[in-house]
Amino acid sequence: MSRIDVRKTYKLYIGGQFPRSESGRSYVVNDTKGRLLANAAQASRKDARDAVVAARAAFGGWSGRTAYNRAQVVYRIAEVLEGRREQFEAELRAAEGVSATKARTYVDAAIDRLVWYAGWADKITQVVGNANPVAGPFFNLSTPEPSGVIAVVAPRGALLGLVSVVAPLIVTGNTVVVIASQDNPLTAITLGEVMATSDLPGGVVNVLTGSQAEIAPWLASHMDVNGLDLTGVEDAALATDLEVAAADNLKRVRRPAPDTDWLLEPALDRMTRFMETKTVWHPIGV
């Protein structure tokens, strides 16, 4: 007799916990051949709001940490992911139907991307900040700071895509509510498990699975969200609606990017788009 496998329950990842959707709903996630992989939690408006509350609560502590410490935590995510490569390769093959070679490429790239961003934590300030030589006896310094709570619609590519949009935000001190790829949500929750065991404080990253069209508008119009990354929105009309909603409190918006090649080395823009420049003046004198 063959062994019956123990199936995994995929839930949400909010505030460092793995709750089911408060709505009690789930949706069927099949593999590319139409076989059931799991019933994923279908997040509701209330789940989205809980996630924002968790992200806001985490913001002060996370943004207040030293850049060195944030770098170590993001590096630690890469370490833990490295240790679970086979699991992610298997998940990617099952969920996205990619070949073994491709799955390996994506997992490796995701790990390397985390390492790349980890290194940026204590350098981005030096690269995009500067002293300003004002015409007067003043010390004048411009430094970048995180914008706050950022809502992200993750692109397809449940591992590399997700890592590529979330890592630049957390390494710079933002906290994140991310809507995982609707078609391939399971890897995102497994990645949540990696983050939960990587010294990342609860609430810094919150992962919602479910319907983009249902959840995203609540995040776009939420008055305690400071930024909206629409990278994974493929419906142009929905993207426009979300951008309009984001105007209510002037969220920083990153518009959709349908044809991004996630294997390429990123520019700085994913970090700087959700940072503010603060300029401090002080007189020079005795």
């Binding site: 914008s147 002037l250 700085l268 994913r270």
Partner: protein
Amino acid sequence: MSNIFEYAPAPESRAVVDIKPSYGLFINGEFVDGHGKAFKTVNPATEEVLAEVAEADDADVDEAVKAARRAYTRVWSRMSGAERAKYLYRIARIIQERGRELAVLESIDNGKPIKESRDVDIPVVAAHFFYYAGWADKLEHSGYGSTPLGVAGQVIPWNFPLLMLAWKIAPALACGNTVVLKPAETTPLTALLFAEICQQADLPPGVVNIVTGAGDTGRAIVSHPDVDKVAFTGSTEVGKAIARAVAGTDKKVTLELGGKAANIVFDDAPLDQAIEGIVNGIFFNQGHVCCAGSRLLVQESVADEVLERLKRRMSTLRMGDPLDKNTDVGAINSGEQLKRIRELSEVGDAEGAERWEVACDLPTKGFWFPPTLFTGVSQAHRIAREEIFGPVLSVLTFRTPSEAVEKANNTPFGLSAGVWTDKGSRILSMANRLRAGVVWANTFNKFDPTSPFGGYKESGYGREGGRHGLEAYLKGADS
């Protein structure tokens, strides 16, 4: 109020300025008649009509955008940065040469004291063109690439008419963009004089286009399909409307919007300087400043002393003819704005705050509001939450640094903040914790072309000035 140190009037001559009875639109290097109606611009200190100005309609805006596009494609984007730079240097020099004329006209049209337009606005305007001229041939060192966006549509407010024009036009041109700019409907005259300066500088036609008008003209610019970049300074309400209007387009946007800055005074602050900073922070330009320090947060232990000194200092402010060189506080820019200031101040009375104002005789003509402060203000009061955009200061108190930070950050805005204390480590810790784009420590309201300016949260996005100011006008590297 009379005292023994009465000042004799010292009016600046108006002879240097030649105001025409009517003005057209500046499109493709020439003044042309618009299709819309004309509107009047008045001197807010006297209500005297200064000139008639054309209101640009959709067709006019379309012509201006077409002119800008032609100039962009055929001339300006093809020109080397070094050549563009020389035009900007020319403009900077002409502004310096015609500085007195510009300052007098600015004060006549806007109502601000001549000492501010002469000693602050115009020198900083020239400095902006000078600063960005130098960037034009060095863009590859900026970190944002060197590819311009195209045609920039720019809408600016009435509080610093020429300075806002410089903030918008200088970086746009340096980066290789061409512009269609709309000055505010109450202060169009210096922008039109700037158009003449562009002619004097032989700037290629269409590189700068100035269209006058009000909200409808602004909307036509912002929503024009051939505008690649929108830059706006003004109210948060209009900023939100613009953010909605550009949703789903490829337009790049920067918004410089309202503020409700906290000016935080600790008990160990150098009080004499702090008082000057508070006064400068809220009464400079009649409080028509988006980064004005309109909420004074003073540590409880020194609150009485600070208030006493502040009232004494406020009583010495001279209010009156903007062209008088002794004037500290000029006229409110428009009747409409005066109405808004009065209304919000009355809300302050109604909500139980205590009003104190400088005793002075206000001129019978023109729009005037005396320097005013409210005590007994709580966080929930509208005068502590909404931007009044006038010479009205709300005073709150705090006990600990954390309470000061919490109160300062308790607003949807995040443009600027002030901190006054002798303790260096406290300054740095406060500067870190304040959610504001500019923090002035032991100083206030300082500006410089090399220094980026802009807000957090609902104060808008993007930065103007400095290296960071180039980002808004270059394609950058997205991925």
